[in-house]
């Protein structure tokens, strides 16, 4: 299904080109020029529009522009009258396309390394064709958009299909161009050509996933693959795929024919059959083995397992264990909150992420007083202010968290309470959360000991902070 979508999007380019190349060149001008800064949403909208117009001109520069736009969503361009008119229509489109904007925003922080080089290619490739249309640019942007009736549908489908792949586009576009250019020109192998069209996107999505995996494998166990190894593996896979799409490669390393066998031995194959079916088969198997390798890095403890069946076993076990953990944790969360009662008024203040310094100071002051009350083990129903302790802790680390005082009322807790507790943690990073837990455990220890002078407690808490 996705193959057809992509091919449809590719096939339907010529009519698009006829109607609106002028604005595409205008867009490219805006992308390359850097005059004044615009707000990120505006730039994202126009970047997306640039993205689609890029698609309409050439396939090869599409990916380079895509990566450039993704890597620098804050690209600046001069706002002309046409630009502003385009923006409203673009915003309507974007409203239908879902939250691609977040995905665009995500890799923005990864740097604008390739932006300079990518700017060069669109400008160099595209100016000649639409130059003759520059004079007859229509004054209203609506004409361009209305001429392209199926544009919104194609955009929606393309976004729906490729939005995941956009996330990984900060990788250098060089291997993508290698893949795309021979693939589009190759008409002899319809089956293979459709899948390699996916392959850059698939490669990028797997690149994105491998980036995510990088973080998680760092978290999980230090013994798993290092990031450099994964990067090598990913980049190694890209030239491997480019070799294959060119076909008739004599000494490509490939895997055994039998897909159920061990994948460790690689041996060079000579004179491999060059018909489309076996090539497609080989491509498919390579992709599957690639994915299995990625899964190996993702699923912990999978490095020693070889063979497809055992790998699948591990994956199944892992997915099952994760799902069971979710069940267990949701049960635990539903039961834990029965002990915490929050004031509904405090919750109904809809600001979930406020940051008010005055309140912080108050709570820091109240922290000491409440610590004394804790120590003296008085029974009180008012203003214990648990959460100020947490928020004062985070005040020192990050000044952004909600600050609400609560009083304990004994009634059955609702999901609102749970939401409240989650909303506090939404702005925390993982380190903050760990520190919260440490601080909480420290306070637990204080409770259990139930002794010591009052001045000892604040010092303990400060030590935790």
């Amino acid at each position: 299904m996705e193959n057809e979508l992509f091919m449809n999007a590719g096939v339907s380019q010529p009519p698009v080109m006829m109607t609106s190349p002028s604005s595409s060149s205008a867009m490219l001008n805006w992308v390359s020029s850097s005059t004044q800064p615009v707000d990120p949403s505006l730039s994202r909208n126009l970047s997306r529009d640039c993205l689609f117009w890029e698609k309409s001109t050439e396939q090869s520069i599409f990916d380079s522009a895509l990566s450039s736009l993704v890597s620098s969503p804050n690209s600046n361009f001069s706002g002309g009258g046409v630009a502003h008119g385009d923006n409203f229509i673009i915003r309507e489109l974007i409203g239908k396309l879902g939250n691609i904007g977040e995905i665009y925003g995500a890799p923005a922080s990864n740097g604008n390394v390739s932006s300079a080089s990518c700017y060069a290619t669109p400008m160099s490739c595209s100016p000649p064709p639409p130059r003759h249309m520059m004079v007859t640019k229509p004054p209203t942007p609506l004409a361009e958009f209305s001429g392209d009736t199926g544009f919104a549908e194609r955009a929606a489908r393309f976004s729906c299909f490729g939005s995941r792949s956009f996330n990984g586009r900060t990788n250098p576009p060089f291997p993508i161009n290698n893949n795309n250019v021979p693939v589009v020109a190759n008409e002899k192998m319809p089956r293979v050509s459709s899948t390699p069209a996916l392959k850059p996107l698939a490669g990028e999505s797997s690149g994105e996933i491998s980036r995510k995996r990088k973080t998680k494998s760092k978290q999980n166990s230090p013994s798993t693959a290092s990031p450099s190894k994964e990067v090598e593996e990913k980049e190694d896979s890209n030239p491997k795929r480019s070799k294959k799409t060119e076909a008739n490669e004599d000494k490509t390393k490939s895997v055994d024919d039998d897909p159920y066998k061990d994948y460790i031995h690689v041996r060079a194959r000579r004179g491999q059959a060059t018909d489309s079916h076996s090539l497609a088969e080989r491509v498919r198997r390579e992709k599957i083995s690639e994915r299995m390798k990625l899964l190996q890095d993702l699923v912990p403890g999978c490095n020693k397992v070889t063979g497809k069946a055992l790998m699948l076993d591990e994956i199944i076990n892992y997915v099952q264990s994760l799902q069971r953990q979710v069940e267990f944790l949701s049960m635990k969360l539903s039961s834990v909150n029965t002990r915490l009662d929050f004031n509904m008024d405090a919750f109904m203040s809809k600001d979930i992420f406020p940051s008010s310094n005055n309140l912080m100071h108050q709570q820091v002051l109240q922290l000491d007083s409440s610590a004394e009350t804790l120590l003296s083990d008085h029974h009180h129903n008012t203003n214990l202010q648990l959460n100020p302790k947490i928020s004062s802790n985070n005040y020192i680390m990050t000044p952004l968290e909600p600050s609400e005082t609560r009083s304990f009322v004994s009634h059955l807790p609702t999901l609102a309470h749970f939401t409240d507790s989650i909303s506090q943690y939404s702005t925390f990073s993982e380190d903050d959360l760990h520190s919260i837990i440490h601080m909480g455990f420290a306070q637990n220890r204080i409770h259990e000991l139930n002794q010591g002078p009052s001045n000892q407690v604040p010092s303990n808490m400060k030590a935790e902070l």
């Binding site: 995941r164 995510k212 899964l295 997915v319 944790l329 969360l333 947490i390 609702t414």
Partner: protein, 164 residues
């Protein structure tokens, strides 16, 4: 590390939203089982919504959750039209019947298809593995977030218990 944290942040935001919506639509009080189901449902939908409906498993998860409970408005709000499409496809597949396999990879593939939401709709084995990869990432994020929240909640719960 940062992209995984962004996944978790996204999941947290969506989870808060779905919990808000769920809280408005369900009466109180609830017993523990219902709370657990509500929490799980909201977190599943949040996980799928964080993936923003570009993967098969996210759409299937939302359609499955929408079918199970009466929270059709919430599911509809989170996901727009892919939900109904996925629901119809699920029904037709189940009607066609399941072919059980005995040997090795095929059996495990079918098992995996049953585990991953929407996996039964995927015929291409390669795409199934890709979906599984993505699903694992988000499932892992969900588990991590829930575990952290549970830990903090239990810690604060201990504090209040000691007070009372």
């Amino acid at each position: 590390m940062s992209s995984y944290n962004m996944v978790k942040q996204e999941f947290i935001k969506k989870w808060i939203t779905t919990l808000h919506i769920l809280d408005c639509s369900v009466e109180h009080p609830l017993n523990v089982t219902e709370r657990k189901n509500a929490i799980k449902l909201s977190s599943d939908i949040a996980m799928a919504a964080a993936r923003s409906s570009s993967t098969v498993w996210s759409r299937a998860l939302i359609s499955r959750s929408g079918n199970k409970t009466a929270n059709k408005p919430m599911a509809r709000r989170v996901l727009k039209k892919a939900r109904n499409r996925m629901k119809n496809r699920c029904l037709t597949l189940r009607r066609n019947g399941n072919f059980t396999a005995k040997s090795g990879v095929r059996r495990r593939t079918e098992l995996l298809k049953r585990l991953v939401p929407g996996g039964e709709l995927i015929e291409n084995k390669d795409y199934l593995i890709r979906e599984t990869l993505d699903y694992i990432v988000y499932l892992r994020a969900q588990v991590d977030v829930m575990r952290t929240v549970a830990a903090v909640d239990s810690v604060t719960g201990n504090l209040t218990n000691d007070n009372n």
